[in-house]
């Protein structure tokens, strides 16, 4: 770890001010589950850490009409255990329950996870699969525009995620095939159905991070049933390959996980 300065603002405005002052050398600290290990390995070297843990109004889970609002600093464990989430979008609570281990879930935050946009992280699939809106101190960004590539997002310098708004779907589920070592998603598929809209989002597999499967979505729009996906496949081109899974195998797993997610969403 390199030496750094540390600030603990109380409001989003203060945090944004500190971030602006630090120029490119400031970093927001949420749960620290990704940032701190990277700093320890000297792969990140922010001159200033701006800790969000005491900032007001960045936590909390609320159902407002047909939308579920989750504050950016909400921990995975709180999403997993929330009665509101379990009732409104059980698939989202289950996804949070499957992230890492208890220590990680009790520190890691939804804001940190999606800001980081790890290509194997779980939340990005939920955001895309539910058509979420990412709210920052400056604007609202639709999930479709937010995840721009591996570890890359639409966030601009000085922008802070304050909450994520998930439209409550009729049916939704996440199916994850964990990497045997890291337990991140080797392939994870989130399926969401709201009215006539169906979304299928894939994480863990894409070389550019989370992505949607329009062909699968179209088939499920016709009939929301795993059988509708029979015969559909995903090309291996552009998928990740590593010691745990080749692009071919990942392509195959996407099909299997998608069907299982649909079945799960249907309560089968």
């Amino acid at each position: 770890m390199y030496a750094f300065n540390y600030q603990r603002p109380k409001t989003v405005r203060q945090a944004a001010g500190l971030l602006a002052k630090a120029g490119g050398d400031g970093k927001l600290l949420a749960g620290g589950q990704t940032l701190l290990p990277t700093m320890k390995q000297r792969l990140a070297s922010p001159a200033m850490l701006i800790d969000l843990n005491q900032v007001d109004g960045m936590g909390g889970i609320e159902l407002k009409g047909r939308n579920l609002h989750i504050g950016a600093m909400t921990k995975h464990a709180d999403v997993a255990n929330s009665h509101i989430v379990k009732t409104a979008i059980p698939g989202l609570a289950a996804l949070a329950e499957g992230i890492g281990d208890p220590a990680v879930r009790n520190r890691g935050t939804i804001g940190g996870s999606i800001a980081n946009n790890d290509p194997a992280a779980d939340y990005p699939a939920a955001c895309l699969g539910l058509g979420a809106t990412i709210v920052t101190n400056k604007r609202k960004i639709p999930a479709d525009e937010f995840f721009t590539g591996m570890f890359d997002t639409a966030l601009e310098d000085g922008e802070i995620i304050t909450k994520v708004i998930f439209p409550v779907p009729q049916k939704a589920a996440y199916e994850k095939f964990p990497n045997p070592a890291s337990r991140y998603a080797m392939v994870g598929v989130f399926v969401g159905k709201k009215g006539s809209d169906v979304r299928v989002a894939v994480t863990g597999a894409g070389a550019n991070g989370v992505f949607r499967l329009p062909e699968f979505e179209a088939a499920l729009k016709t009939r929301f049933n795993a059988k509708s996906l029979d015969g559909l496949s995903v090309p291996a081109d552009g998928l990740n390959g590593d010691i745990h899974a080749s692009p071919d195998y990942r392509a195959h797993l996407i099909g299997v996980m998608a069907k299982r997610a649909v079945n799960k969403a249907l309560g089968k």
Partner: protein
């Protein structure tokens, strides 16, 4: 204990004393090497090669030395100038080429992680800054990773004095007899297998604190290691001093599994640096260093053939192995594929003729050395896989084929001439089958099928050959404070000797457990020792402790007799001390220590006999055919570790070994890419088993005492790791049999299984 009794509830057994040391471990009060850092200690950091193979053109240490708080930057040239000696190998294998290796590379690096420089600074951050400032000019060269390729005539040489990259050739057995048997055989089963390279992954990484005392010209190393007495001479040779000038002390240690039994280059390096700088130094490996530069285990390629007659009787076993030694010959490295597997070759079975040919090969990978089981897992894996292949290919029932080929009686002398004194494998098999409810398997398989899953059953024996280094000492010392120190040359780095050994001695003497203090792994107070390697602790140290206890009893009685002016026979040892019959007077141990003074009894065991733990294990797996993912649902067995001292601790040892064996079978894999970059270098990519990867283990114990030691004990420390790989793999291959799969190499990853099922 008789053969007819099997212990299934270890917890209920009165011998199952709970571990005394867990109190402090669970409360976070254990004292590990890094906890013993003192104010003023300097931090040492080892700079390692990022290349698998490269020439070192030039190292410029000036910028690194100018970093604030940096005290020194050392390179291989400094060691040459200081006249340090090379690291050695303590395994006598004829014809072995041991290349010269200094603790830091001088002109060439030979694996990713090879130590190149040592930085000493006041803080870790300063040392890291210096490591970044250090300029090393490398000339990268092609790397050899595959030991098969390494033997090709046109392969580059890891060492110019090792033609064909061969470090040794090892032969055992009777090739002519084997050839004759094969000529007469009705059936020949054959396998080509890779026994995968794995990392021991001790929780506590290697750590060394080095102090040099110039007034005595003496080095003290506190370190997380095992087998310290055995490798001390290797450190002394590098430093060019006498053994007695070095003390090695191991406080609490968080695991080792063999990978800490070797003299790492860092040990002598730290000692020398502490002397050179005149300050105490501490080095703690991080996880990446553990994966890249801690010794690895296994990694050999074997072609095995088993000859059978028409009835299925085994006639001969022929084994050809290429053993990947890595870039250097580690302390005991060549043993793991040669002398270590030899006594276990052919497993529990009676095989009239055997031959073994092993070639040890250098590659540009981390050195390989003994890892839990060392060679025994490989030997048993080979025969047990071959038997399943033979059964399927030639239409035998796999269980009947095993039973038919068990020795008819014991002692059994195997084809390599080892005498297996005791065992009851038929009994173990019968019990294991009942214990696992193998009768109910078909029904469970049908239920799995209904859920779209493939279920497989794996049955396998294991034969462990426990001995390790020969000879062990034990001392009992009555101390001033009235406690009795039990000092033993063997060493626990998590096994629980502090409980089981005191328990044994306390029970032998009839004194309370609390009267004793356990002392180990400290050359200042334990003059010699053989470590734990080869599951040797109780078989070797037990008789030494028994002898020391017998002498100690006499000493206590006679000391008390003198004080009481009584004859020895009028005195008796009771829980509170020594009692004088005629008067009923009792002298406590502290009174004795005060009035009669401190005294010591010594016991030594020089037996060189192997003991042969064995067991029959049964695994059941379920495979998800759509993904290839395996769930290990049931794992049980019936094992024989001779007379048990503490069944609970023995069971704990077996469980830990099983977890590591299952890890090797299903998850663990050290992988290098073609350039020699380690690509399983962190826990993000190296998969170790976790609680939810494992079922509850149901191991029953049958206690057939061995005659190899007066206690009747057999070593339980490695057995699980020796038993699990073949048991699990046999179950997986059984589940895949409908797809014509006859073998898969470990680890059986989901993708491998999926590919095997979808082979066209």
């Amino acid at each position: 204990m008789t053969e007819s009794h099997a212990l299934t509830d270890t917890r209920a057994d009165p011998r199952s004393r709970r571990r005394a040391e867990d109190e402090r471990f669970l409360r976070g009060q254990g004292r590990y090497t890094a906890d013993l850092t003192e104010d003023g200690d300097l931090i040492a950091l080892v700079v390692r090669s990022p290349h698998a193979h490269a020439l070192i053109r030039k190292i410029d240490t000036t910028p690194a030395q100018q970093v604030p708080k940096v005290r020194a930057v050392f390179t291989g040239d400094d060691l040459v100038r200081a006249g340090l000696g090379p690291l050695s190998c303590s395994l006598p294998l004829s014809g072995l080429i041991v290349p010269e290796r200094l603790p830091l590379a001088t002109d060439r690096v030979r694996f990713m992680g090879d130590p190149v420089a040592l930085i000493v600074a006041e803080t870790l951050a300063a040392a890291q800054d210096a490591a970044e400032a250090l300029i090393i000019d490398y000339d990268a060269l092609p790397a050899l990773i595959d030991p098969r390729v390494a033997q090709n005539a046109d392969a580059p040489l890891v060492w110019t004095n090792a033609p064909n990259n061969r470090a040794f050739t090892y032969e055992k057995g009777d090739p002519a007899a084997v050839a004759d048997a094969f000529a007469m055989a009705t059936h020949i089963a054959e396998i080509h297998l890779v026994n995968n390279r794995v990392a021991a992954m001790a929780l506590e990484p290697r750590t060394v604190r080095a102090v040099y005392d110039p007034t005595r010209d003496h080095y003290t190393l506190t370190l997380s290691a095992a087998s310290i007495h055995l490798f001390r001479p290797e450190i002394a040779k590098v430093l060019r001093v006498r053994d007695e000038q070095i003390d090695l002390i191991v406080p609490d240690a968080g695991g080792g599994f063999g990978m800490k039994n070797v003299a790492y280059p860092e040990y002598a390096l730290l000692a020398w640096a502490a002397k050179t700088i005149g300050r105490a130094l501490i080095w703690t490996a991080d996880r990446l260093e553990e994966f890249s530069s801690g010794v690895h285990g296994r990694d050999n390629i074997t072609h095995g053939r088993l000859a059978l007659d028409a009835k299925g009787r085994f006639l001969a076993l022929d084994v050809k192995t290429i053993s990947n030694l890595g870039a250097y010959v580690s302390s005991l490295g060549p043993g793991a594929a040669t002398t270590a597997p030899t006594p276990a070759m052919g497993g529990v079975y009676s095989i009239p003729a055997m031959a073994m040919h092993v070639e040890g090969v250098f590659t540009h990978t981390a050195p390989v050395d003994a890892y839990r089981g060392a060679g025994k897992p490989e030997a048993n894996y080979l025969i047990e896989r071959l038997i399943d292949i033979a059964a399927r290919q030639f239409g035998f029932d796999a269980i009947a084929l095993r039973r038919m080929n068990l020795p008819k009686r014991y002692p059994h002398v195997n084809a390599f001439g080892y005498t297996i004194d005791s065992g009851a494998p038929r009994d173990l098999l019968t019990r294991a089958l009942v214990h696992a409810d193998v009768k109910g398997f078909r029904k469970r398989q049908a239920q799995s099928k209904k859920r779209g899953r493939l279920r497989g059953l794996g049955v396998a024996f294991f034969l462990e050959t426990s001995r390790g280094p020969v000879g062990e000492d034990a001392w009992l010392r009555l101390q001033h404070n009235g406690f009795i120190d039990l000092a033993v040359g063997s060493q626990s780095n998590g096994q629980g000797h502090e409980t089981s050994m005191i328990q044994f001695v306390a029970d032998t003497l009839g004194l309370p457990f609390s009267a004793f203090r356990y002392v180990q792994a400290d050359t200042r107070v334990v003059p010699s020792g053989g470590g734990h390697g080869g599951a040797r602790s109780f078989p070797m140290a037990g008789p030494a402790m028994a002898e020391a206890a017998a002498r100690f009893r006499i000493m206590l009685l006679s000391a008390a007799g003198t004080l009481l002016q009584a004859t020895d026979s009028e005195c008796e040892l009771i829980t509170d001390g020594v009692r004088h019959h005629p008067t009923g007077r009792v002298i406590s141990l502290s009174e004795l220590a005060r009035d009669a003074g401190v005294f010591e009894a010594h016991g030594r065991n020089d037996a060189d006999l192997y003991n042969f733990p064995m067991g029959c294990h049964i695994a059941e797996v379920e495979i998800d055919p759509e993904t290839g993912r395996v769930a290990l649902l049931r794992y049980s067995g019936a094992d024989d570790y001779g007379t048990l001292i503490n069944p609970l601790l023995a069971e704990g040892q077996v469980h830990g070994g099983l977890a590591q064996g299952i890890g090797q079978a299903m998850l663990e894999d050290i992988r290098y890419d073609d350039n020699g970059q380690l690509i399983s270098a962190t826990l993000m990519d190296y998969a170790v088993p976790r609680g939810d990867d494992l079922p509850d283990f149901e191991i029953a114990f049958v206690e057939n005492a061995t005659a190899a030691n007066p206690l009747g004990v057999k070593g339980a420390g490695q057995a699980g790791a020796i038993a699990a790989p073949q048991t699990v793999m046999n179950a997986i291959i059984d589940a895949l049999a409908p797809f014509g799969v006859t073998h898969l190499d470990m680890p059986a990853t989901p993708e491998k299984i999926w590919r095997a099922m979808n082979r066209t």
